[in-house]
Each structure stands twice: as C-alpha cells, then as structure tokens.
Amino acid sequence: MKARTMGRHFRESLKSLGRNSWMTFASVSAVTVTLLLVGVFIVIMMNLNQLADNLENDVEIKVIAEPAADAETVKQLEKEIKATPGVASVLYASRDEELDKMIKSFGDELNLYKQSNPLGDAFYVKAADPHKTAEIAIKIDKYANTYKVVYGEGKVEKLFNVLNMSRNIGMVLILALLFTAMFLISNTIRLTIVARGREIEIMKLVGATNSFVRIPFVLEGIWLGVLGSIIPMAVISISYYELYEQWEPRLQNELFQLMNATPFIFQVNGLLLFMGIFIGMWGSFMSVRKFLRA
C-alpha cells in the first residue's frame, strides 16, 4: 500500500467521525462508561491485592532454640536455617531481647526472670514464597536444638485460602467486566457500521480490496477507543490522586497501604488506553469482517 493511501485512510477515518457524529457519540459513550467501570474496579482490586500481599508477607516462622543450647550450637542452627531451601531472610533475636519484648507486652512483673532467663534464642524466618511457610516450618522443626517452631498453624492456611479466593474472584470479575465491555462496545460499533453497509457495498463494487475497506474503519475504531478512554483516565487519575493525598498520611503504620499514586496511576491509565484502543479496533474489525465475506 502506498503512503499516500495510508494518508487518505487516516484523513477518511477522522472525517468519518465527524460525518457520523451521532454514532461516534454513541460508541464513545459506551467505551467511556465501560472503561470507567473497569478502571474503578481495577483500582480497587489492585489495592486489595496489595493488602493481600502485605498480609502474606507478614507471615513468618518463629524458631525458638533449645534454651539450654550454647552460643556455638545456636550459630550452627542459624546456619542450618539459612541453608534451608526457600528461606528468604532470618532475623536473630537473643534470649534477652526476647525477654525485653515480653516485658514490654506483659508488664514489669516479668522483670523477675532477668536473673535467670528461661527463654531460648529466637530466629524470625521469612519464606521466599509465603505459601511455603508451613512446609519450611516443618523442615526446620526437624533440626536439632530447636525447642519450638511457630508459624500460626491453621490460621495461616485459612488466611491464604481466603486471600487466594478473593484474588480469583477479583480476576473473574475483571474478566467478566472486560468481556461485557468488549461485547457492549463492539455491538455499538457494529450498529454504526451496519448503518454504513451501503458504503462498504459501493466500495467493493468499484473494486476496493478488503484491506482498503477495512483500514479506515479500524482506524476509526482506534479513535473511538482513544476518545472513549479520555474521561475514564481523567476521572480515575484525579480521584485516586485526591484519595491518596487524603488517606496516605492516616494509613502510615497500617497493614493496609494505598498503592503509591505515581507509577500506579500511569499504569492504570496505560491499561485503560490500551483497552480502549484494542476494543475499538477489535470491534471495528469484527464488524467490518461480516461485510467483507462473499
């Protein structure tokens, strides 16, 4: 295809938006409404996902060494724990630090124990993959000189199950919404193209190749997608930024953190724009295809 022809397609697609202004309006509105829904949903899902990640990463294994073990043995145990496959980090806390922590939470009466500390040294172990926590805990429990290995048995599994389920539900909902959006938008575009079936018929009669007919429509679909994604992008950017500014300071030390506004908003915007363009293109492509058979 000649560059001149591509220029013609480009101009035609823009002109056609204006010529068919009502249809343009209908398609752009459909894209706007659905992308807005999808966008809001993605923002909520991503933040919930982050919460889930934080919860998961908060899971750790506490390994208490045998209180009678000497420093050398404890060092050996630390080495063993660190060498365990799947272990991401090991934080050592001496028996005295452990006691201080207990005194802080349970009160000064425990000061009594400072004379002879009954506690053992402790290791706080994080798994590279939080889902393998239980597996790793069981392994560590078999090492010599461990007094106790705690990781919240039962609770952790339940938490993971709930989080997994919520993630899956979120994914299904997003996919369903996307599918509905595609269907809705491509249907609207189809209607606008059906109304122009005569135009396509004439193009074919005078000897237009299929791609010559198709390209202006597909370009037009792209414009519809771009136009339709402007409002959702603006609304989501502004409102998320506001929300972030308002709430971020209040959530400083909470487990639930909002996603940082700056890369996140751009990512969501990029995704919305991409979806708008893709849906517009796809909708036009599928609709024109019907007329190009035969």
Partner: protein
C-alpha cells in the same frame, strides 16, 4: 469479452435462476437483456461482475474465469468493469466530484490523475457545473449520470447496467441512453438489463431474452418482447 458456458445457478433456497446459459458477447457490443421479473435477468447480470457465483459452468470476462476466481482477486476484476444500478448507489455524504473520485481513490490513482479524469468524465456526462453538489440536491437523472460517470471514470472495457432507467421518467431515460451510446461509441462493451420497451425498439441493438433461467431468444437488431 464475455463468455458464458453451460452456466447453471441454484440458490440455497432451491430457486434455479440460471439453467444452462450459453452466450458470447464481443468487444464493443451493446446488448440489452430483457425478460419478465424473476426470470433470472438479475442473476445473469450479477454473475458477470461476480456478485453471484455460478453453481456450475464457466463465465469468462475479459479473459478471467469468474467461476474459479478467488475472492481476493475479485476487486481487480471489478476495476475492469463499470456497474450502474437502478438506484444509483451513490454515497450520500460525498458530493458529485467525490463520488466519482472515489472509484479512483480505491485503485490508488495519483491525485493529479484523479483531478484530470474526474473533470473529464463529469464533462462527458454534463455535470461539470454541479460537481460540488450532493446527491440529494440532484434530480434522478443527474444522480444516474453521476453513477455512470463513476462507472466509466477508470475506463473499463465493460459497463454493466441493471435497469439504469428504471427509476427515471421517459425524457431523462433518453438522456441517459445518449450517454450510454457515447460510451459504447468509444469501444466499451455495454450490457444493459431493461424493461423499457421503447428504448429497446428505438435504439436497436442485440437483444437477449432471459426467461426461466434460460436464453430464449438472442437477436441482433432485435426488438423488445418475450411473450412468444
């Protein structure tokens, strides 16, 4: 120019619209196709520009066998054939000039050539003054002239017309016929389906009568009629 050999066409609903058609139309001929409604006239015409495909048999137009022509090649066939319809088939949102230029844009003609060819052909059909008007601002006869201009602007070897005067009053019909005569005089083959007895009987040309999906009569300098 156009050859049909044992052409047979059966539609999915069982209607047989062509039942063994054999015909040969030479270069530069002017042929009327007449026959009652539902006799297979339209199918006969449509098969020539590959709007319909024969179920059996061969159709050769300008050396191309349409029975075996792949869909992808159809646009290139169409560029060698001009088609004119009863309902004009103009693009309502383009003006006269743009409607004619459209046929050249489609074949990626250069802007300079487009300007020249469109102006020439508009002069031929007498619409130079109305180039900037839109189809809904024109009379039926003028719209048909635009449609003819579009069909001949890239100088096809064949023009196929499906009742081009069907929607026009007698006087306008004669004007349209004059234009077809001119085009024919330049050596272009013309195949025209028509119901207009007066035209067929006055401007004498070859007459092919299609009835029941078959050619029942084929006469040079023939007259209108298919009752016999």
């Amino acid at each position: 120019m156009i050859v049909m050999k044992d052409v047979y066409k059966k539609y999915p609903n069982g209607v047989v619209a062509a039942n063994g058609i054999n015909v040969e139309i030479g270069r530069g001929e002017f042929v009327y196709v007449v026959g009652p409604s539902g006799a297979g006239k339209s199918t006969f015409i449509k098969m020539m520009y590959r709007e319909e495909r024969p179920t059996k048999g061969d159709i050769i137009v300008n050396g191309i066998n349409l029975a075996t022509l792949r869909n992808k090649r159809v646009p290139y066939l169409r560029r060698q054939i001009g088609v004119v319809f009863q309902d004009f088939k103009l693009l309502p949102k383009l003006n006269v000039y743009e409607n004619v230029a459209f046929a050249l844009e489609v074949i990626e003609e250069s802007p300079k050539q487009i300007r020249k060819k469109v102006n020439d052909v508009l002069a031929l059909v007498g619409l130079t003054q109305k180039a900037r008007m839109f189809p809904n601002e024109l009379s039926g006869g003028e719209q048909q002239r635009v449609s003819i201009a579009r069909s001949i602007v890239n100088v096809p070897k064949v023009v196929i017309a499906d009742e081009p005067t069907g929607n026009l009053d007698p006087e306008t019909s004669w004007e349209i016929m004059k234009i077809f005569e001119q085009i024919n005089a330049r050596g272009t083959t013309i195949v025209m389906a028509t119901h207009n007895r007066e035209i067929v009987n006055t401007i004498r040309h070859r007459v092919i009568v299609v009835d029941g999906g078959m050619i029942t009569r084929d006469e040079y300098e023939g007259v209108y009629g298919y009752e016999s």
